[in-house]
């Protein structure tokens, strides 16, 4: 695989007031890979994601997406970049006064010149792909369960078939079966669209089954990155306890540990 980072983060520093959350973090995400991003609660995973997509100001460092330096990019250039990514926020962030269908169609209406018929069909198709039913389409976000909110948010993030999706804990709040379907869907999209996925997750199953690479965040920097095997061998104490502890992501499949150790 050629080395072609689609997201390039260098020496990123982000803080709020006196507290420094990210302290010189560097990270590459390659085109077409699914990167699982792990870290303790409050470590700054969501902050990193929000900084990359431009919602938080940074104190230092550079961010390049699609080879565009987001600091130097003009308004128009930023808009085109933003059109090429989709974001799933940790808490859904659906538009509360629009129905589920309208939420999914929001970007299509803005950017595409297609008939209402096609727009409805695509919206329903997306909803069914993420595991919802057509009968949910006219519900409002306040009438959804937690897992349904996640699914609608994913459908909206994928509405324009973006090149990168940022997913903040997409499978939390889903039952294991739905979570597995969700992983399978992400995998299918990656295969077909060449989708790049930046996925913050705590779900060991996702890390196992779909993530091509994993990066671990601790103390404001990436302390380990690589495939699951590399993570298991990491010397860093937090990474060790994450992947080898009792409830750990690595302990999930004892066979794999042996093969890595060997």
């Amino acid at each position: 695989m050629i080395y072609d980072p689609i997201i390039k983060v260098r020496d990123l520093c982000v803080g709020f007031g006196d507290t420094q959350v990210l302290k010189g973090l560097s990270l590459d995400v390659q085109r077409g890979e699914i990167l699982g991003f792990v870290g303790g609660s409050g470590a700054g995973k969501s902050v990193l994601m929000r900084t990359i997509i431009g919602l938080f100001p940074k104190q230092g460092g550079t961010i390049e997406v699609f080879g565009v330096n987001m600091d130097r990019a003009g308004e128009r250039e930023r808009r085109t970049v933003e059109r090429r990514w989709g974001v799933l926020f940790q808490h859904g962030a659906l538009f509360s006064s629009l129905t589920v269908r309208q939420n999914v169609q929001f970007l299509m209406r803005e950017h595409l010149d297609i008939t209402d018929k096609l727009m409805n069909e695509i919206a329903i198709a997306k909803l069914e792909m993420v595991g919802l039913r057509a009968s949910d389409a006219e519900k409002f976000p306040s009438e959804l369960s937690g897992g349904m909110t996640k699914r609608v948010a994913l459908a909206r993030a994928l509405s324009l078939d973006p090149e990168i999706v940022f997913l903040d804990e997409p499978t939390s709040g889903l039952d294991p079966i739905s979570a597995a379907e969700f992983d399978a869907l992400i995998h299918t999209l990656q295969q077909t669209l060449g989708l790049t996925v930046f996925m913050v997750t705590h779900d060991p199953q996702s890390l196992h089954t779909v993530c091509d690479r994993i990066a671990a965040l601790s103390d404001g920097v990436v302390v380990a990155e690589g495939d699951l095997g590399t993570m298991m061998l990491s010397e860093h104490p937090w990474v060790q306890s994450y992947f080898r502890g009792k409830r750990a992501a690595g302990g999930y499949k004892p066979l794999e540990m042996e093969s890595v150790g060997a």
Binding site: N120, A125, T192
Partner: protein
Amino acid sequence: MTSAPELESSVKGDRLELSARGAWTAHYADALEMLVERHASGSANAAAVSIDMSHVNAFDTFGAWLLERLMRGFRQAGRNADIVGLNENYAPLLREMSDVNQSDYAPPVKRWHWTTPLDLLGRNAEAFFIGLAPFVNMLGAVGTAIGRVAVRPTTFRLTSMVNQFDRVCWQAIPIVLLITFLIGCIIAQQGFFHFRQFGADTYVVDMVGILVMREIGVLIVAIMVAGRSGSSFTAELGSMKMREEVDALRTMGFDPVEVLILPRLVALVIAVPVLTFLGSIAALLGGGLVAITYGGMSPEIFIERLRDAISMSSFKVGLIKAPFMALAIGLVACTEGLRVKGSAESLGLKTTDSVVKAIFMVIVMDGLFAIFFASIGM
């Protein structure tokens, strides 16, 4: 890298052969839709159709769905349709598509009919009367909460009340003083301008004094409080309702009326008389300033006339009304706040409702009080 999508057809015997090229993606969705529409019904006499996808160089859900739609159309028309040469990377996505849109779903459409305005009128009237019920409910809930707090005064949320009082009264003082001062000036100026024509200059002081003390002071303050604090009560309680904070309180064994609403109401009931008093003084000052500068009256005469014109009872009339108006504003604001549903839009609607209803109530109450005071001779 990508080029516009194409779809060419050729007929070989009873076979229709379609050959696709270019990018079948969201970017070209509009062109793609037209292409597919055009070929969907073409060559109706061909018994079999094959679609050659080998020259398609980009493919996403839009392309996949339109291809699926085309295939479904052919199959429904009883033709044999198959796809050849589809890149194996694209196949899983197309398989996903075979399950979707199988139910005949059509989003509801709103149509205009000549009865629509009538319907709307009826609904609004109904909503108005139904809207009174929660208000009365709230009055009852507040009554019982007061009862409970009266039995155990330590349960009253004093800190919260003081905090609310600071926002509702203390922070409102500058703007209330400014506005009432200006209103006093305007009334006096208009009085002098018009009364001067028939030499009734001195009665301007009577007019300003009585009007401000009995009506304008309390009305202006009540309207300002409704716009300033009533709206913020509704928005605060509404967003707490939206995020299930109110439900959380209830499940922890707290009564939202006692915790959230009572402190606000008490703060308001104290604040509005205080603001009314200060506002009336400011309006009188404004009137006096205009009388001296514009009306050419000496300060001594102004004060002399004012003393004759206003009595203790006009002062009382204004102040008695204040707490009742405060109560009405607070009740309306809190009731509307708790009626907010899940969406941001409903929060906006209820905040508007709260201010409009509160101002309406204030003016209606003022009218009722006027009748009442006239009949008891105050």
